[in-house]
Assembly symmetry: C2
Homo-oligomer: 246 residues x 2
């Protein structure tokens, strides 16, 4: 990992672009973080729409987290943003778009072909990013994972023991196979559900919440569509991480 | 209303027993509350099991609320505690107990006969208590309702305009008729659901949440049984009231 840019943001936050091999990423740290006062880390998940377009929402989450003493980091997903194209992913996306525009139920095949390869490719990359980030002296642990593609969060919660708590957003299409993995999750979970999420199957989200094996799991359902998560619901995610990472 | 007892609790909280006609009640106020600095009020709901037995849980909620600057108050429900017996309520309770012990589904008739008369009798009493409490110089407004029999909370939210926010506990049997009233609720709601509540129909609770007409409504589902609400979930209720009553 090497840093590609440095920027000082308001509120005493350092934003650094980095490259992990050919994967771009961003790291935000409270300026007060140091080798003698390392901070916990939250990995910021996001949909496969490119870091550039997601930046405004990511930096908002990063600044909130920094104010509570957390470093945050994210990396570009495979096939997204400036990373090399991934025709299979593009085809699956196009199938999804067609089905949704036609008002059809999105088939399990489309969901599987879109999400499962993404999870398989992305998760080892997030683990590699974790290796690199935790080698920085100003970043200690423990580590949380927050938001983005919920299936990536589920897989990471199962396979990555350094992640001790996860805030998940029940707002994406979940392959049936991930329900089995969900049963293997045991870390504390905080799950957000937008009750009227236009692109989400509410019952599937509730079933997924039920499936998680964690003894501590909390569902916060709020009114509004996919992008309408209220500010107080975001604050509650931060408090969840404060409870588990501090 | 006249006060029947006064006690100073730790944390600068004044506890006063009162009688509203023949209805006993308890009022907790931060000692700092005064005519020149009146505080908002939260009505503390509870199940029809008698104030005496419920006291430990009520005083815990009262002390938490007082620390955030709220007065809290509660009154005995009709047919409970030291109030005159109510044979119809006792019969309905006995029917409920028999059905639950036999492992039968509790019929709509039992639920209706238990809850609807209780709502009809209790709600005007809570409104009378509100009249009396709001006439005290150290209590201002606005007013919230928290917990207890959810159907009482629903009816109060519909008929009592002085109640501007409600924290409801989706853990009691709800007559079908209350679903219609739920659609008429428009105040902000914070609904707690214990995911594995042994005495509760989870799907009915989710349907009820869906039915509420409020634009701001949040469901917090946590693991554990009826009495296992985690501390952090109680804290979130207090934050909800802070957001809406301050």
């Amino acid at each position: 990992m090497h840093f590609t840019s440095t920027q000082h943001l308001d509120g005493g936050v350092l934003e650094r672009g980095f490259a992990l091999g050919d994967i771009p990423g961003i790291l935000w740290t409270p300026e007060a973080a140091s080798a003698s006062a390392p901070v916990p880390l939250i990995l910021l998940g996001h949909p496969p729409l490119g870091l550039h377009g997601m930046y405004p929402r990511l930096v908002t989450r990063a600044l909130h987290s920094a104010a509570e003493g957390f470093a945050t980091a994210t990396i570009e997903l495979p096939g997204s943003g400036e990373r090399p194209g991934w025709p299979a992913l593009d085809n699956a996306r196009a199938d999804l778009r067609r089905a949704m525009q036609a008002g059809e139920t999105v088939s399990g095949e489309i969901v599987d072909s879109l999400v499962l390869p993404l999870v398989d490719r992305a998760v080892p990359e997030w683990q590699a990013a974790l290796d690199a980030l935790l080698s920085l002296p100003e970043i200690g642990g423990p580590v949380g994972f927050s938001g983005g593609v919920i299936s990536i969060g589920i897989r990471l919660a199962v396979v990555e023991p350094r992640i001790v708590a996860a805030g998940l957003f029940a707002g994406s299409l979940v392959p049936r196979a991930m329900f089995e993995e969900a049963r293997q999750v045991t870390i504390p979970l905080h799950v957000l559900l937008q009750w009227d999420d236009e692109g989400n199957d509410r019952q599937a989200a509730l079933d997924l919440f039920d499936a998680f094996g964690s003894k501590e799991k909390t569902l916060h359902a709020n009114m509004g569509g996919h992008a309408g998560v209220p500010q107080f619901a975001g604050d509650a995610v931060t408090r969840f991480f404060t409870r588990h990472l501090k």
